[in-house]
């Protein structure tokens, strides 16, 4: 019994420590749920980039992308007798990007009549502000006098959104260019292209497979949710064990 007098003090001390641990868990949860996501978002936006000068050479489409677009438009052009192309002003100070089914840098509008009896070109004008595209305007230019092409269908369904570019800025541009032959078929200027399953692609390899479709953000949120559940459970279990020990006089 002589040592029994010290035990309640120790228990009180331990109980006090438990409060601190709880506070630390709450702070850690706050850091994970609020501070980290905001920091990540700022980093992702380039807020911590050391170079704050505008990139005067940035273009919208890389060489692999222009090659892909040209390749995809070639069959449509051959079947339709129409040249399809694009003119993109990224507004960064870089030269205006031009291309067509005839290749990167080849303007369908300037091709001779034998090569391009008719042409349809997508013109995209970006507004580059504070190191990113803030908006874009799309126009369809063509050699037809009596046909009016419209991107309204794409705009109304949200496929093209001139002000909310987000992470789909470049994909939007590719979709707009890829839609040109579909628009020509809709306007009865050309027959629709028959799609072929499992078309051979020179770039395809044996391990060519679908990506998970879940970006870092999805995995971060799943990890965060799991961590919070785990921490909460740990807190309760730890407290229950302590109380159980205290009641048993351990």
């Amino acid at each position: 019994m002589s040592g029994g007098g010290a035990k309640p003090d120790e228990r009180k001390k331990k109980k006090g420590n438990g409060g601190w641990i709880g506070c630390l868990i709450v702070l850690a949860a706050f850091a994970l749920t609020v501070v980290l996501p905001i920091g990540w978002s700022l980093w992702d936006e380039g807020a911590f980039d050391p170079d704050l000068s505008d990139d005067m050479t940035a273009v919208a489409l890389g060489p692999a992308e222009t090659a892909r677009l040209a390749e995809r438009l070639q069959e449509a052009s051959r079947r339709h007798g129409i040249c399809y192309g694009w003119e993109v002003d990224a507004d960064t100070g870089a030269p205006v990007e031009v291309g067509s089914n005839l290749g990167a840098g080849v303007d369908a509008r300037k091709a001779d009549k034998a090569t391009c009896p008719e042409w349809i070109v997508l013109k995209a004008d970006y507004f580059y502000l504070d190191k990113e595209w803030s908006s874009v305007g799309y126009t369809v230019l063509d050699s037809y006098d009596a046909v009016q092409f419209s991107l309204d269908e794409l705009t109304s369904s949200g496929v093209l959104d001139g002000t909310e570019l987000g992470e789909r800025g470049v994909a939007q541009l590719a979709d707009a260019i890829g839609s040109l032959p579909l628009l020509a078929a809709e306007a009865d200027l050309a027959p629709a292209l028959p799609a072929q399953e499992q078309v051979f692609s020179p770039s395809a390899t044996v391990d060519d497979e679908l990506d998970s479709g879940r970006g870092a953000g999805w995995w971060f949120l799943v990890g965060l949710g799991s961590l919070l559940v785990g921490l909460g459970l740990l807190w309760i279990i730890r407290s229950a064990v302590k109380e159980w020990k205290w009641r048993r006089g351990l």
Binding site: T33, L182, T205, S226
Partner: protein, 133 residues
């Protein structure tokens, strides 16, 4: 113990809400809606409207996580399905597949955008110049 129950309970509740919204969030698969909206035929479902308009109607009902507008048709990706809207003699034909089957089937059109070697997409990614990391 009471404090731990409240504190731990709040943490667990917030975690469960985040998990539920993340895992269940996103978009509904349009499979059932398409089968109810469009008559079967042509190896898929038939629409009297051209591909861009038909795809717009499907997107209006269920927003895809990704899409590809190609000269050959419109390809929509959902968490549980790949929808291909292809031109037909009159209107469009719609094919609905599982993501893996759909990727295999239409790889020539979506390769590089939805996947690639090792499952890494490489084309037309990001928001353009300066659009983040």
């Amino acid at each position: 113990m009471k404090k731990a129950m409240i504190g731990g309970g709040i943490l667990m509740l917030v975690g469960v809400i985040i998990l539920a919204l993340t895992v269940r969030g996103g978009t509904r698969s349009p499979r059932e809606w398409i089968s109810g909206r469009f008559p079967a035929g042509g190896g898929g479902y038939q629409s009297g409207q051209p591909p861009i308009r038909t795809a717009g109607e499907i997107i209006g009902h269920s927003r895809p996580v990704d899409r590809v507008y190609d000269p050959a048709g419109v390809f929509l990706r959902y968490p549980g399905a790949v929808v291909a809207v292809l031109p037909a003699a009159t209107g469009s034909v719609i094919h609905v597949d599982t993501p893996e089957r759909g990727y295999q089937r239409w790889r020539g059109y979506v390769n590089g955008r939805w996947g690639g070697p090792g499952g890494r997409a490489s084309l037309f990614r990001g928001g353009g110049p300066g659009g983040g990391k």
